[in-house]
């Protein structure tokens, strides 16, 4: 029995996929459906399905974005697309499993046997891993924030600051600190440079969230953010920060 999650922004497309899966030879249980990428990420995190049927063209977060935001262990993924030259090329290059709309039952059966074999043998999806590896290093625009067992997707622009404490990096978002899976060094290179600036060995701040620069001891400063909290500013980064504030 395969446990599946369907992600597609068109309700009828999900309806059809549900019908086809119900009639398939392999036993598949649809344990969840999402109508957008934003809903999909926490749903997958909670339900931990074996296989994900993922539509590529969706608003705000598309199928590839969803894939980027999935933390391991991630499910096997079968992409679904109407027609998208870029996506089709990516699928061909990386030998990824994909279905074209309207989805055909025979074609779906082949994908299901493939996934079922991998799930039974416990082998990881090498093609998908390879594809995901090519997307690492791309600019980060969204993050998954974890609070206990729940998980949500946030725009990086909404994060006020990133701060490293005790070997963990926290994102300050809506009055709370959430641990994220990046190092400060990674974030410095992958966050949009026009939006974020590194002010300390352990701190990156959102330019929009900066409010006040307060002199501290021996040439260092404290930076007050718009939520009233403060972060340290190191001596050698003050000048670049002042330039950003002045400009």
């Amino acid at each position: 029995m395969l446990r599946a999650v369907l992600v597609d922004d068109e309700p009828l497309a999900r309806t059809r996929m549900r019908m086809l899966l119900a009639e398939a030879e392999h036993e598949v249980e649809v344990i969840g459906e999402a109508g957008s990428g934003r809903e999909a990420v926490p749903l997958i995190h909670e339900t931990k399905p074996d296989v994900l049927f993922l539509d590529i063209q969706m608003p705000v977060l598309d199928g590839f974005d969803v894939l980027d935001l999935l933390a391991p262990p991630r499910p096997h993924v079968v992409f679904v697309t109407a027609y998208d030259e870029f996506a089709l090329r990516a699928f061909e290059v990386h030998a990824l499993d994909y279905l074209t709309k309207p989805v055909r039952a025979e074609r779906l059966a082949r994908s299901l046997s493939r996934v079922a074999a991998m799930v039974a043998a416990g082998t990881p999806d090498a093609a998908l891993d390879g594809f995901q590896a090519t997307r690492v290093g791309a600019p980060v625009h969204r993050l998954t924030l974890r609070a206990g067992r729940s998980l949500r997707v946030a725009e990086v622009a909404e994060v006020l600051a990133f701060e490293a404490r005790e070997k963990l990096v926290f994102a300050r978002h809506a009055g709370r600190d959430y641990p994220v899976d990046f190092t400060i060094q990674e974030l410095e290179t992958r966050l949009p440079a026009e939006r974020f600036v590194r002010v300390h060995r352990a701190v990156i701040v959102n330019v929009e969230a900066m409010r006040e620069l307060l002199p501290w001891f021996s040439g260092t400063y404290r930076l007050r953010l718009k939520d009233g909290t403060e972060v340290p500013v190191s001596r050698r980064r003050v000048r670049t920060l002042k330039a950003r504030l002045g400009g």
């Binding site: 922004d9 068109e10 009828l12 497309a13 309806t15 934003r38 608003p59 109407a82 027609y83 309207p102």
Partner: protein, 412 residues
């Protein structure tokens, strides 16, 4: 001074040398026609000879008349075109008569310089001139002829440009219609509906067929009525509504008086498709697309007597990345094509403005026979009811098409 004025003056200044050369040449031609031996003699008889003075006289009068008249005609044409744009052969005829009359009056005025010129050059005043009426008649006929020729050439160029843009539009519209993403997703929806709601599946199939048929047929007509366009748009909206369901709400409100307005074919649906694409495809939540067509109330503050049609397509999506028309329109988008084709049909009287939440088109209201096209009908001569959206000739006072799914939500 505005940039446009400066550019205009600069263009006119650049034309001056050409005007001068043509003017002096014309003076010589007149001189040679009047007295060929004396004209030839003027070149060999040396400085200061009476024949040479005559050559100077003919050159100067040719220069003054040509530069003066040329500028008067250009200026008259500019003012006329700005206030009363050429829309039909009748307006063109009015333009030609008006310009020729103004030019004739100017000619009479310029003639008053001739005695002064003769006095300066020490020539006797030319007494044996044809009567004034004849001179004016010749001047009138001449300018009218030249103006008509210019207009004909301009018309021909505009026609050729329009033809070119139409072919481009035809191509891009066909490509957009056979937009694979739209087609395959719609087919997928139909496949799903066949089992869960067979009659709805039938409806979507019929609409998809009608929409494709309309596109193929309309692409062969340079212009259609606004109603044809709105009906085709409604087909498109109905299909998208099945795909997106609650996420897409569409309101169409059309003042029936503008239903007959003549528009370039395949104008409205690309605008709505644009709104749907940018609205629905870029937000998770519901997106409202509003289509309005009516007569603009402030038609140029009384300067343009002709009523203007205003067509608005708004959506509640994230809006354009930029409000600068050059930035948005330069991408060779469907929007740029819409603007170009509207311009080709209506000239500068047509405008496309980008607002934060959509697009507004304004163009002169020119009524067209509803009977002439009727592209969304099935071609039976007795059946003039064109689809379900709007009835043929008995249009109600105001048509509001609210798609079924949206009707309940619209009451808030």
């Amino acid at each position: 001074m505005s940039d446009a004025t400066r550019a205009y003056l600069l263009r006119r200044l650049r034309l001056l040398p050409l005007m001068a050369v043509v003017g002096i040449g014309a003076g010589w031609v007149v001189f040679a026609l009047e007295d060929a031996p004396r004209f030839l003699a003027s070149w060999t008889s040396g400085w200061g000879s009476p024949a040479f003075i005559d050559l100077v006289h003919s050159s100067l009068s040719g220069l003054i008349y040509t530069v003066g008249m040329w500028n008067v005609v250009l200026e008259a044409k500019r003012v006329l075109t700005a206030r009363w744009p050429i829309a039909t052969w009748q307006t063109a005829a009015v333009h030609i008569v008006a310009i020729a009359s103004i030019a004739t009056l100017a000619f009479v005025l310029f003639k008053q310089i001739d005695p002064v010129l003769c006095a300066v050059l020490g020539l006797p005043d030319n007494g044996k001139e044809p009567p004034m009426v004849v001179i004016m008649g010749v001047a009138f006929v001449f300018t009218a002829f030249v103006t008509a020729l210019t207009y004909t050439v301009e018309f021909y160029q505009r026609f050729r440009d329009a033809e070119h843009a139409r072919l481009q539009a035809e191509l891009s519209a066909l490509r957009a219609q056979i937009n694979p993403h739209f087609l395959f997703n719609t087919l997928n929806s139909i496949a799903a509906l066949i089992r869960v709601a067979p009659s709805e599946a039938e409806g979507v199939t019929e609409r998809l067929a009608d929409l494709f048929r309309y596109t193929l047929r309309a692409s062969q007509h340079p212009t259609v009525t606004l109603r044809d366009e709105l009906e085709a748009t409604q087909l498109y909206i109905d299909i998208e509504q099945v795909r997106f369901q609650d996420r897409l709400l569409v309101h169409v409100k059309v003042d029936p008086t503008v239903a007959r307005a003549q528009v370039p074919s395949l104008l409205v649906q690309p605008l709505v498709e644009n709104a749907v694409k940018h609205g629905v495809a870029r937000t998770d939540g519901p997106c409202v697309v509003r289509v309005r067509a009516h007569i603009a109330e402030d038609a140029g503050a009384g300067r343009t007597p002709a009523p203007m049609v205003e067509l608005q397509v708004f959506d509640t999506g994230p809006g354009f990345d930029s409000r600068d028309p050059d930035v948005v329109l330069k991408r060779g988008s469907g929007l740029a094509n819409v603007r170009d084709r509207l311009r080709l049909l209506y000239g500068k009287a047509a405008t496309l403005s980008l607002l934060a939440d959509g697009v507004v088109l304004r163009f002169p209201f020119r009524a067209m026979e509803l009977e002439r096209t009727g592209l969304t009908g099935d071609g039976l001569p007795s059946d003039r009811a064109l689809g379900d959206g709007l009835a043929a000739d008995d249009l109600p006072h105001e048509v509001t098409i609210v798609s079924p799914q949206t009707a309940a939500r619209d009451k808030r």
